[in-house]
């Protein structure tokens, strides 16, 4: 095994080590942050509400159009 290959294997060991270290550390910090944030938060479901309204509206319009179509069968091709 020549020197270049040796450098390659060292790079591999080092690289996978750092990737695991970095992402591993990220696991810890994210989990910690999430816990801290969840403790401070009170109303976590506000964002979901607005999109519900949108979906509602789309639902309503879709249904309105479908109903309209079934009421006016002569328009269908």
């Amino acid at each position: 095994m020549n020197e270049l290959m040796q450098q390659g294997f060292q790079l591999m060991a080092l690289g996978m080590g750092v990737v695991f270290l970095f992402l591993g550390m990220l696991i810890g910090v994210i989990s910690l942050t999430s816990k801290v944030i969840q403790r401070f938060e009170t109303a976590p479901a506000d964002a979901a509400n607005t999109s519900n309204t949108d979906n509602d509206l789309i639902e309503v319009i879709t249904e309105a159009v479908q109903q309209y179509r079934s009421d006016h069968p002569q328009r269908k091709k």
Binding site: L4, M16, F22, I27, I30, T33, Q38, P44
Partner: protein, 381 residues
């Protein structure tokens, strides 16, 4: 009349037929093949279509479109040599990506880490190829080839433009082609390495992730990157910037610009200018075949490493984690996550893994950016 003949001759010497070299004809055909894959097979068309067209344009004799005064040559030097295009794409990817699944289940970062094994295996493979006469990859070349295993287009282009600009065309073609082939490459490996029982594991529904957590996420990633791996900061920085534009909720105008105008315009220019590296003189070497072969290995090894790490987590979690989602760790967002979902559905028709696979999938993007940072730090010095 001899004047007119002379004019005709002058015109004749400027025709394509009179000037074609065989390499160029071949590369026009390669470009057409990429267009075929993009349009008919719908393989990553957003990149392969401009790239294929760029390949055709840059192999037109006389026109010099990929030369220093040609459109593609200028785009390349402005956007790829400087790294600007891949960084803008990365900003757009950040603005388009919801990291919620990853925040809800941070453990899946390990899957995104494991899958980067493909990068380093391929690096070794590239060096090993040097025993074959005709191959002479430097460590920088090998690192740039290895990054194909990151399964992330902009990262690959960014790193290749820094470490091995001559190989950029082949590396980009390999990266995007294999990303498009993920639905074909991955499933056999996934089935081979997992048991029926493992594939049937249904995972608990993900918890709700609050807005504050989503805002904190890009900042945390950035700070860790600053402290431990500043060479990854350009890539990670733009990714997290785009994500912060998205999640902050106060700059929707800018978030939309990053998600649409900027990324679309840049994608066209990036594709065309990467295509300009598919010039015959740069592309038609035996190295290119090596790179295509190594890229395939990179994807296979990355997938296998992800699945194997998934099996470890299946064990350690007491069977709560389906090892299939490990395959999504290679990135190739969102294709690899869809493949995990599909293979899961084959085993159990009510087992939807898509959301759970998104965690390792986006973790893979961060993982390969980190790997790129290490390679830049050690090899690019």
């Amino acid at each position: 009349m001899s004047e007119t003949l002379k004019l005709f001759e002058q015109l004749w010497v400027t025709t394509g037929v009179a000037n074609f070299e065989w390499g160029q004809v071949l590369m026009v055909c390669v470009g057409m093949l990429l267009l075929y894959l993009a349009i008919v097979k719908k393989y990553e068309p957003l990149l392969l279509l401009p790239m294929g067209f760029g390949a055709v344009l840059s192999n037109i004799p006389i026109a010099g479109i990929s030369g220093p005064d040609g459109l593609l040559g200028m785009l390349y030097s402005v956007g790829i040599e400087t790294g600007v295009f891949p960084l803008l794409i990365f900003m757009g990817v950040g603005a388009l990506t919801d990291f919620g699944a990853l925040i809800a289940m941070p453990r899946t970062l390990l899957l995104g880490a494991a899958a980067q094994f493909g990068i380093f295996t391929t690096l070794i493979g590239a060096l090993a190829l040097n025993v074959i006469p005709g191959f002479d990859f430097s460590l920088a070349d090998a690192a740039a080839i290895g990054i194909i295993g990151g399964a992330d287009g902009p990262t690959a282009i960014f790193l290749a433009s820094k470490l091995a600009p001559d190989l950029l065309g082949a590396i980009a073609v390999a990266a995007y082609s294999y990303m498009a082939l993920v639905p074909i490459i991955q499933p056999p490996i996934m089935r081979l390495l997992t048991t029926e029982k493992e594939r049937k594991v249904r995972m608990a529904q993900l918890r709700h992730v609050s807005k504050a957590e989503k805002i904190a996420f890009p900042l945390i990633v950035l700070i860790l990157c600053i402290i431990f791996l500043p060479t990854a900061a350009p890539l990670i920085g733009m990714l997290t910037f785009g994500n912060l534009l998205r999640e902050s909720g106060v700059v929707d105008r800018l978030s939309n610009a990053a998600q649409h105008e900027i990324i679309n315009i840049t994608t066209i220019f990036l594709g065309l200018s990467v295509g300009s590296k598919l010039e015959a003189s740069h592309f038609l070497h035996v190295e290119t075949l090596g790179i295509l072969l190594l890229g395939m290995i990179a994807f296979c090894v990355g997938t296998a490493a992800g699945v194997l790490m998934g099996k470890v987590m299946y064990k350690t979690s007491g069977g709560k984690i389906n090892p299939l989602i490990g395959a999504a760790g290679v990135s190739a967002v969102p294709m690899a996550a869809r493949v995990a979902n599909k293979v899961g559905l084959e085993a159990d028709h009510h087992n939807f893994l898509l959301m759970h696979a998104m965690g390792p999938n986006v973790a893979g993007v961060i993982g390969s950016a980190v790997a790129a940072g290490i390679l830049l730090a050690i090899v690019g010095g």
